[in-house]
């Protein structure tokens, strides 16, 4: 298993007041994402556990893209990966952010 953690500063907090949300399932080609509103409003941390080693740069790019689009300030995001493709990861991250905005 490989552990990766990315920390970002956001321009604004994610809107809404949902304290936490989970989306997705750990399965082949899929992943689960747990989002918790526990950080300062301009901070976002994404921690990933993945069985597929060596894809750090891909994860870094996907996470940076998500942070730029969603501005998920205040969120600690934890990912259990089952070997998801980058487009699946992006989709789930945006789904998760929407759940937190509700």
């Amino acid at each position: 298993m490989e552990s990766l953690t990315f920390r970002h500063t956001t321009k604004k907090p994610l809107p809404g007041s949902v304290p936490n949300a989970i989306t997705g399932v750990v399965a082949s080609g899929n992943l689960e994402i747990l989002l918790e509103r526990v950080l300062p409003p301009d901070a976002c941390e994404v921690a990933i556990e993945t069985p597929i080693a060596g894809y750090g740069p891909v994860w870094e790019a996907v996470v940076a893209d998500f942070v730029a689009r969603a501005q998920p300030g205040g969120l600690r995001i934890s990912i259990n990966d089952g070997g998801a493709r980058p487009d699946t990861v992006s989709l789930r991250l945006l789904q998760g952010a929407r759940l937190m905005e509700a």
């Binding site: 298993m1 936490n20 989970i22 399932v25 750990v26 399965a27 259990n80």
Partner: protein, 309 residues
């Protein structure tokens, strides 16, 4: 201890088979009533899977908690069939055992178990096997206290191995077309006994032998549901109201029921032969029947409904 939010969905439209465990529970319960115990935010994850280089899940593949069903308090457990085949690991099993033990003091209107499991998680085999034994004892204790334990089976992993045994301990079972109940899975039989004994690639054979319609016709399940969350909700409400007692009379009746089944059908090679002997006019047509036609067929089969469980 607010549980993590999951996407809400319309129970009439949501396929039980396609839904995740968490979606099933949220949509099954009265809106907004589900409260999860040991939710994902607590990160109670398997201490064993990392040894096998396998990913973990925040809830170890089972969602447990309290909810309202038509205003009545129930305890609910839902297995996630897509994570490790919904199999019983140490934490997964202990969450179910804890929920059942909690029922003895909380005295809910029922405990609902949403099965979706291949049986024991082999990476944690001894813990899973022992948890299954603890679960069976706990269900008996709960039933003996007068609390119905209702199993709902329609997930993609089916209900296999020790899960099949636990299902057999429950007060009542509801099953859909996609739900399969069995001890040995098709691949296990084929691997051990050969393809001439069981060809696991023959999906029609798998469904005829282990599927929801066969189980309902022979009395192995008490309700047959369309593949929607609302159908399972309706079945659960109905079955809670007519759960058999757990006592010697019930088990004597079950003994007679199962002995009679083996005496009548023990020489049948295929489910269609059993269905014919049960009085089904056109057994070959059963697999293609829609829910309404199948319900009508079941209503004419005496063996399908009983309190011997």
């Amino acid at each position: 201890m607010a549980g993590a939010h999951a996407a809400s969905t319309d129970p009439d439209a949501l396929s039980w088979y396609e839904a995740t465990a968490r979606q099933r529970v949220v949509a099954l319960a009265d809106p907004g009533s589900f409260e999860e115990f040991l939710p994902p935010t607590e990160r109670r994850m398997s201490p064993h899977l990392p040894l096998f280089d396998l990913p973990r899940a925040f809830d170890d593949g089972i969602v447990v908690g309290r909810a309202k069903l038509d205003g009545k308090t129930v305890l609910v457990a839902a297995q996630e069939g897509r994570f490790m085949g919904g199999a019983f690991g140490e934490i997964h099993g202990a969450k179910l055992v804890g929920l059942l033990r909690a029922a003895l003091t909380l005295k809910p209107a029922a405990v609902l178990i949403l099965f979706d499991t291949g049986g024991v998680r082999l990476q944690e085999a001894n813990a899973g096997e022992t948890a299954i034994a603890e679960t069976m004892r706990a269900i008996v204790d709960v039933r003996a206290a007068g609390i119905p334990v209702i199993g709902l089976i329609g997930g993609r992993a089916g209900c296999y191995g020790g899960g099949g045994l636990i299902a057999g301990i429950c007060s009542r079972l509801a099953v859909s077309e996609g739900g399969r109940i069995s001890v040995s899975g098709p691949e296990v039989i084929e691997t051990n006994k050969g393809a001439e004994e069981f060809d696991s690639r023959d999906r029609a054979l798998v469904w005829r032998t282990m599927g929801g319609k066969h189980r309902r016709l022979i009395g192995g399940a008490d309700a047959f549901c369309a593949d929607t969350v609302s159908a399972f909700r309706q079945a659960a409400l109905d079955l809670i109201g007519r759960a058999p007692a757990f006592d010697l009379d019930t088990l004597e009746a079950e003994q007679a029921r199962l002995e009679s089944r083996i005496a009548r059908f023990g020489d049948c090679r295929d489910a269609t032969e059993i269905w014919a002997r049960l009085g089904v006019n056109d057994p070959e047509s059963v697999p293609a029947m829609d829910t309404r036609a199948f319900d009508e067929t079941v209503s004419r089969v005496r063996e399908a409904d009983h309190d011997a469980r």
